[in-house]
Symmetry: C2
Amino acid sequence: MSASRPTAVPASIEGSGSLRSLVREIPAATVARLPVYHRVLAALEEAGTRTISSEALAQSCGVSSAKLRKDLSHLGSYGTRGVGYDVPFLTYQIARELGLTQPWGVVIVGAGNLGQALVSYRGFASRGFRVVGLLDIHPDVIGRQVESADSGLQIQTLGDLEDLVRSGRAHIGVIATPADAAQDVCDRLVAAGLRSILNFAPAVLSVPEDVELRKVDLSVELQILAFHEQRRADDHHPSQDPTSLGEAINA
Amino acid sequence: MSASRPTAVPASIEGSGSLRSLVREIPAATVARLPVYHRVLAALEEAGTRTISSEALAQSCGVSSAKLRKDLSHLGSYGTRGVGYDVPFLTYQIARELGLTQPWGVVIVGAGNLGQALVSYRGFASRGFRVVGLLDIHPDVIGRQVESADSGLQIQTLGDLEDLVRSGRAHIGVIATPADAAQDVCDRLVAAGLRSILNFAPAVLSVPEDVELRKVDLSVELQILAFHEQRRADDHHPSQDPTSLGEAINA
DNA sequence: CCGTGTGAAATATTTCACAGCC
DNA sequence: GGCTGTGAAATATTTCACACGG
């Protein structure tokens, strides 16, 4: 994916094991799980838990303990053999790795149902994300007040985007527009200087290679479920059993 | 993940290559991409495109052509060498594989901002998903009318869940509640007989192994972006350059 | 020729299993 | 004795590159 930079670590400095940090290149699969670990750990810390084993934490996170330990090993050696992990310490280390120790400004483009739901979504504020702008192009919604997780927010025009970015208030752009507007909006976000974009529109977007684009496609997940639901139905009522396969079904 | 059933295909029937269908076991990574292929193909068909090469389709879908061809090969041999794929035919084959040729009823639990946004989300209806119920426990929202993608919908009590499932109207459950209610709601969905659940609450849920549970965690994606955003910042302003590494940075 | 379909190679991710340390 | 951290093995996924058919 990143074709511009040497991805591999020199492999000579590390290996000794003493110079942690500098280890860089945390696997993408690991990064994708860190937020879950962090959320569960934050709840444990809240509840007053002091230490936890990889087995117990893995259980709470819905992963295997081996996977959890391997994931954490990419951040450093933060556990104690025979004991487990110090909950507040590990929580902090993951937060630091994820960049949650500093606040991030989020600008949302598209003030429809989804955009407004995102503004009031509690999960953002609680992880240090602050919605600094809700933009739309539809003239008659501009200026309307919207309930935010912290205080309120007025819908602004898309023209206010550049200022939000230049002033350093917005770091991450969220696209919550209809699909046909998504690429245009995306181009504007990039042109304004944003390099991290989250797309909720059901559209495939192109960005320059130095822009990190992620997507959440609500209907994709539903379609994956439909696939499994159908498969389940097929397994239980095989319309015409063609050759053998009969013995694989027991119900 | 599925520990109860022999996952591998007998491996004796296939291999000849002539008996497609029955090939079963489509890789999870492939299934996750099929909805995107389907959406892009449906748009192409709409636009009147008759055939398309793997190269062109892959470009539109944001994947490599090799990956696309490998993915499609798991469904069967639907292309024509030297020509490409017939757009309407391939669209239909993917729809059939995903179970989109039949309508699915979706019941959403949690009528907050997110639940209501989901009800009016266009992407569901356009892929054959119909929201057949929007449930909540909060007494003073019960009965309220909500704008739906097709017609409207009244918020019902959670008690109406069993009837929706037993009557065969609901096939998939969606959890759009706060995190602390999610496991309870999930248990009720399972008890009511649903086997496909999509969770939007920021909580790790447990389900019996025959239940397919997927999740969409809005803040997880934002945190992954924060990770990369921070890394970018670190790379450009290394607070203290410890050893070498200097030559890897050019900007 | 052209572009699909696919074995084989290269990577990435997960799981195993155990040495090492508290 | 218990639990982490991690090499090594097992899987899964992606990429390569080319034989094959229209």
